[in-house]
């Protein structure tokens, strides 16, 4: 499937990159990183315009982020309300939405490129937690600029090692995203136990 997609890059250039990054920002399983690396490689060999590739990828990614945010805002707010209805869950939900509202910009920025597998989910969550739209957009665009420059640029610079780059890069971003989730869940687990023991002691 990836091969067929790659074969379309020289044909549809800008529009293909736009479509691929758009869909990947909505959590669809599209291999956006290898497409961007390959587009960079094709630009280096003169078969695709570098600006065409980079601008297509960037516009698609930004539009995808905005769509995810809008979906989160329209559908997710009600979901959060339902989750909050359970009193034991409410403090956790409040803490998470509070965190998104105060420190969301850093999270959105880093989840565009460093922890990119988490990006689409953060789009939905930011919309659902009613994060301020200008802050989301500012952090989102700057993060996507880093993401696109990184992948298209690496493909351009190392056109002869795209398979190696995509495998190593894919594994590395998997380690980073899953590692961050592990640390986060470990922390929540620790806090939850701490809170439970504190409540237990208060009761005595």
């Amino acid at each position: 499937m990836t091969e067929q997609l790659l074969a379309l890059i020289p044909v549809y250039g800008f529009w293909l990159l736009l479509g691929v990054t758009f869909l990947s920002c909505l959590a669809l399983p599209i291999p956006a990183s290898i497409v961007m690396l390959t587009a960079g490689g094709l630009s280096a060999s003169g078969d695709l315009g570098l600006w065409q590739a980079a601008s297509g990828a960037l516009i698609g990614a930004v539009l995808g982020d905005q769509t995810g945010f809008a979906l989160g805002r329209s559908g997710g707010t009600a979901l959060i309300g339902r989750l909050r209805a359970n009193p034991s869950r409410a403090p956790l939900i409040d803490r998470a939405t509070g965190l998104l509202q105060t420190r969301g910009m850093l999270g959105v920025f880093l989840s565009r490129w460093l922890f990119s597998p988490l990006g689409p989910w953060l789009n939905f969550a930011s919309g659902a937690a009613a994060m301020s739209w200008p802050r989301f957009t500012l952090a989102g665009i700057s993060g996507e600029v880093v993401w696109v420059t990184l992948y298209v640029g690496l493909g351009f610079g190392f056109a002869d090692s795209i398979a190696a780059l995509s495998q190593i890069g894919g594994a590395l971003s998997g380690v980073l995203a899953a590692g961050l989730l592990t640390i986060g869940l470990g922390y929540v687990l620790h806090r939850a136990t701490h809170d439970r023991l504190a409540r237990h002691q208060d009761a005595h």
Binding site: E3, Q4, L6, A7, I9, P10, V11, T38, G41, L42, A44, S45, G46, D47, L48, A159, D160, S161, I162, A163, A164, Q167, I168, G170, A171, L172, G174, V175, A178, G179, L181, T182, L185, G186, V188, L189, A192, T193, R196
Partner: protein, 121 residues
């Protein structure tokens, strides 16, 4: 340790399962990262495998040979307009992909052999 895990299991089952799942995922990607790095650091694996989606110019760039050499080997003139992939060239000239790929490999080997004899004083 066992008591702690037991307490987690009793009071925060979902969180514990999530933690174990993400930890497993992290270790899985870590293994992949190590094997991929080892595989690609072997010089024998560093040449790209020619495949249908590639354009001749891209293959030339990957193998660091002159693109014209590859167009000659394919007996194909790059027409202006959109770049053609190897599969497009196979389709328009009625040849098979393995055939074209073998021709390219031969041309690349010849170019490399020539280059290595040139560099010997």
């Amino acid at each position: 340790m066992m008591r702690m895990i037991k307490a987690y299991w009793q009071h925060h089952r979902l969180l514990l399962l999530g933690f174990v799942a993400t930890l497993t995922l992290t270790l899985f990607f870590l293994t992949r990262l190590i094997t991929a790095t080892l595989y690609w650091s072997n010089p024998a694996h560093q040449d790209v495998v020619i495949s249908g989606w590639m354009t001749p110019r891209y293959i030339a760039r990957s193998y660091q040979v002159d693109p014209d050499l590859l167009f000659d080997a394919l007996d194909f003139d790059p027409a202006p307009g959109r770049p053609l992939t190897l599969r497009d060239i196979a389709d328009t000239t009625g040849r098979s992909l393995p055939e074209l790929s073998a021709e390219l490999q031969a041309a690349i080997s010849a170019a490399r052999a020539e280059e290595s004899t040139e560099s010997v004083p």
